[in-house]
């Protein structure tokens, strides 16, 4: 039966996550992290994992909830809204990759650990984002090469590494790896350069395995979901501010110029919500259009996030430009979501190719 709006259950999961994140990760804590030197926040990580986030899209036999990418994406959207810190999205992707593999041994070894969040995992695909451009070599079970822009590498124990030609390998933190933190602009999701020098690894998918492309598409959908949540936050914050801030003896939200700006921001974000759902739905249903829908969603929604983050600063005026107010955190997250996994232009070019133009 036709249904293209969230179920009660999906909304309840979003509510639960929103509440848990608000309780375990108050705004002061977010600012502490941003002003400190790490992006890994144990209390909120544990609270979100205890709620079942790590296993949301994993099969029930491995401690998961057996839900789809759409449900996971809707969860990530809430975390984007709340600027959750650390490699949560990447952690969920690693679990999804292992669950998609043929190895029962690896599943048994890692999935319960990842579902519970006891082990932190992340994805090392950075710099050259597209699978066909990945460079790390795997030979006789050892990795050599370098990957940039790896989120959460300081906290992670397990790495899903993109290998030359578009394969995926699984690597536990070990002596043959060097993690060096980068000076990241998004301080809620800091990145590192990871160098592999004869690091032991298990090959999860060989180059050319179609599962790799599918996992990459899933990653695009999830980053689009994060961007959607972040963009919504920018709109909500700006609207709330326009209602309470007074100038010339009245709330500034009464002035038509600002009203129209805010309406324009909402017009960028709200219609994109269903686009994100569609991309996730297409992935879950394995529609022929799934890959293209993921590319289009990543390109469009990351652009929207950047656009409304800029507009939000403008709508606030001076306070929006301060460090203290915190809008800057979402602004910087918008730049992360735009660049991470390839820019909108990269994915639009792919979408044009995929359309057969």
């Amino acid at each position: 039966m036709m249904r293209f709006h969230p179920t009660e259950e999906q909304l309840a999961i979003q509510d639960a996550l929103r509440g848990t994140l608000a309780d375990s990760f108050p705004k002061e804590r977010l600012h502490e992290l941003v002003d400190g030197d790490t992006d890994f926040d144990k209390p909120s990580w544990d609270a979100l994992m205890a709620l079942g986030l790590g296993g949301l899209a994993l099969p029930e036999i491995w401690g998961g909830a057996g839900l789809g990418l759409l449900d996971l994406a809707m969860a990530i959207e809430v975390l984007g809204d709340g600027a959750a810190a650390g490699p949560i999205l990447q952690h969920c992707l690693v679990a999804l990759a292992i669950a998609s593999s043929a190895s029962e041994e690896l599943k048994a070894r890692w999935l319960p650990e990842l579902a519970s969040g006891g082990t932190v995992a992340t994805v090392a695909w950075g710099g050259e984002w597209l699978p066909e451009k990945w460079t790390v070599k795997i030979e006789d079970g050892v990795l050599s090469g370098m990957v940039r822009y790896v989120p959460g590498a300081n906290a992670a124990h397990l790495f899903l590494v993109g290998t030359a030609g578009g394969g995926l390998a699984l690597c536990e933190l070990e002596a043959g790896m060097r993690v060096s933190a980068q000076h990241s602009s998004d301080r809620s999701r800091r990145t590192a350069t990871v160098t592999f020098k004869n690091a032991k690894a298990v090959e999860l998918f060989e180059p050319g395995d179609p599962t790799v492309a599918r996992l990459f598409d899933a990653a695009l959908v999830l980053i689009a979901a994060d961007a959607l949540g972040g963009a919504q936050h920018c709109v909500d914050l700006s609207v709330a501010y326009a209602k309470e801030r007074e100038q010339f003896g009245q709330p500034i939200g009464r002035f038509q110029a600002l009203k129209h700006q805010l309406a324009g921001m909402a017009l960028e974000v709200e219609p994109a919500r269903a686009m994100m759902w569609y991309a996730a739905y297409a992935w879950d249903m394995q529609l022929a259009e799934a890959s293209r829908a993921a590319a289009m969603a990543k390109a469009h929604i990351a652009d929207r996030f950047v656009s409304v983050a800029r507009a939000a600063v403008a709508a606030h005026g001076g306070i929006g430009y301060t460090w203290e107010y915190g809008l800057v955190i979402w602004f910087r997250r918008s730049m992360f979501d735009r660049a991470y996994l390839g820019s909108p232009a990269v994915h639009r070019a792919r979408a044009a190719d995929l359309a057969g133009w």
Binding site: M2, R254, A263, L267, E270, M275, R348, A349, A351, A352
Partner: protein, 397 residues
């Protein structure tokens, strides 16, 4: 989520498809012969419960329970076979729903059936030369004299104005009352000596709209929908219907497909424009908006099917459509290049080259004015959608 219509709907689709295949065979019919055949086809389709579903049987409809999925299946199957749907225009979209909600039994008896049959074509009499976005400031005057309304003034921007034989209009009948409380919703026969019509030549050179002059035009006392002074409220029902119909998704998708087709046809640097990386970026950037619009229409459709509230996104569909229309216009202008220097031949006169895009390039501006200008819609999104305080000039406190 699930975008399939489900087994029940697919069974229904087979029935509809079989009906259309059996009953819609226009063959070589032309002119009035074809017109009579279409009228007869619509009767059969209505008897089958396929057309005029929200109109009661006693007024010529098929009186079906609300079922947006079935309605969508019917639209798809008719469109697939290029079979005619209901008669279009303001009558079905606006007047009939209004009469069903607010009309008297006599008015329904009198007006709905001939509208359904396509014999009554309705013009909308809302805007006036001094009354655009501030619609409640209408000045066209109606006075009840000797048992009939005597109307004086001017209405403008009436689509279908050339063929219309009736009008539903907002007329100031209570000059002493406050702005919004002094208006009545009157029905007017346009074929009478007191009414003069004149086409308005628009940007494209065509005349899609008319203006009407009322000089002691008459209408019976009981051709008023709702009470005296209630016209503003009555008209809100109709505008709601119009907004819903303007925001339809299929037209935008089709327009974008035509743009892609254009990019295949025209050349840039000696190769099809669509192979140019810059054009590919341009097209996919626009397509992002087209997809967001399409997916949002799935969302609204689904909410309507579940009889749930549509929320803020419904307020955005018209603006999303027209804003994307502007983007398409600019892209088309880039693609047609020097053809923009040529006036296209009028439509219906043989093959038209890329210069036919001039109609869309200019028409997109008309779309963003009709049915509430872009700025009016931004205000609606901000106030009704985002809950921002009302503008003082527009009645805020």
């Amino acid at each position: 989520m699930d975008l399939s219509y489900g087994a029940e709907a697919e069974n229904y689709r087979s029935e509809v498809r079989a009906f259309v295949k059996r009953e819609w065979q226009p063959g070589e019919r032309r002119g009035s012969d074809l017109g009579a055949y279409i009228k007869n086809f619509r009767h059969r389709a209505t008897n089958e419960g396929l057309l005029y579903r929200f109109v009661p049987k006693r007024y010529g409809g098929s009186e079906q329970p609300v079922d947006v999925v079935r309605a969508q299946v019917i639209r798809e199957e008719f469109s697939r076979a290029r079979a005619p749907m209901e008669v279009g225009g303001n009558g079905m979209a606006m007047l009939v729903p209004t009469l069903l909600e607010r009309g008297t039994e006599a008015q329904r008896e009198r007006f709905i059936r001939p509208t359904v049959e396509g014999d009554y074509v309705w013009g909308q009499g809302y805007s006036e030369p001094g009354t655009g976005s501030d619609l409640a400031s209408v000045r066209t005057k109606g006075e009840l004299i000797d048992g009939e309304w005597v109307i004086n003034g001017q209405k403008i921007w009436t689509s279908q104005g050339g063929g219309a034989n009736y009008m539903f209009a907002l007329i100031r009948t209570e000059p002493q009352a406050k702005k919004h409380d002094g208006i009545s919703y009157l029905l007017i026969d346009l074929d009478q000596p007191g009414v003069t019509r004149r086409p308005i030549r628009q940007m494209t050179g065509d005349a899609g709209f008319y203006e009407f002059f009322f000089d002691n035009a008459k209408t019976p006392a009981d051709w008023i929908v709702g009470e005296r002074g209630e016209g503003w409220k009555v008209s809100r029902t109709t505008l709601k219907h119009e907004r819903a119909s303007i925001g339809s998704a299929a037209s935008l998708g089709a327009q974008f497909e035509k743009l892609v087709e254009l990019a295949r046809e025209v050349e840039r640097d000696g190769r099809p424009a669509i192979q140019d990386p810059e054009i590919r970026q341009l097209l996919t950037r626009i397509e992002g908006w087209v997809m967001a619009h399409r997916c949002s229409s799935y969302r609204l459709f689904s909410l309507a099917a579940a009889q749930e509230e549509p929320g803020i996104v419904q307020l955005m569909m018209k603006l999303l459509l027209t804003e994307t229309g502007h983007e398409i216009a600019l892209a088309a202008q880039e693609l047609i290049g020097d053809e923009a220097l040529l006036e296209p031949p009028p439509s219906g006169h043989g093959k038209r080259g890329p210069s036919k895009w001039l109609d869309q390039i200019m028409g997109s501006l008309g779309n963003s004015i009709a049915g509430g200008t872009t700025n009016i819609h931004r205000g609606i999104i901000a106030e009704r959608g985002l809950g921002l305080p009302r503008d003082l000039a527009m009645g805020g406190e």
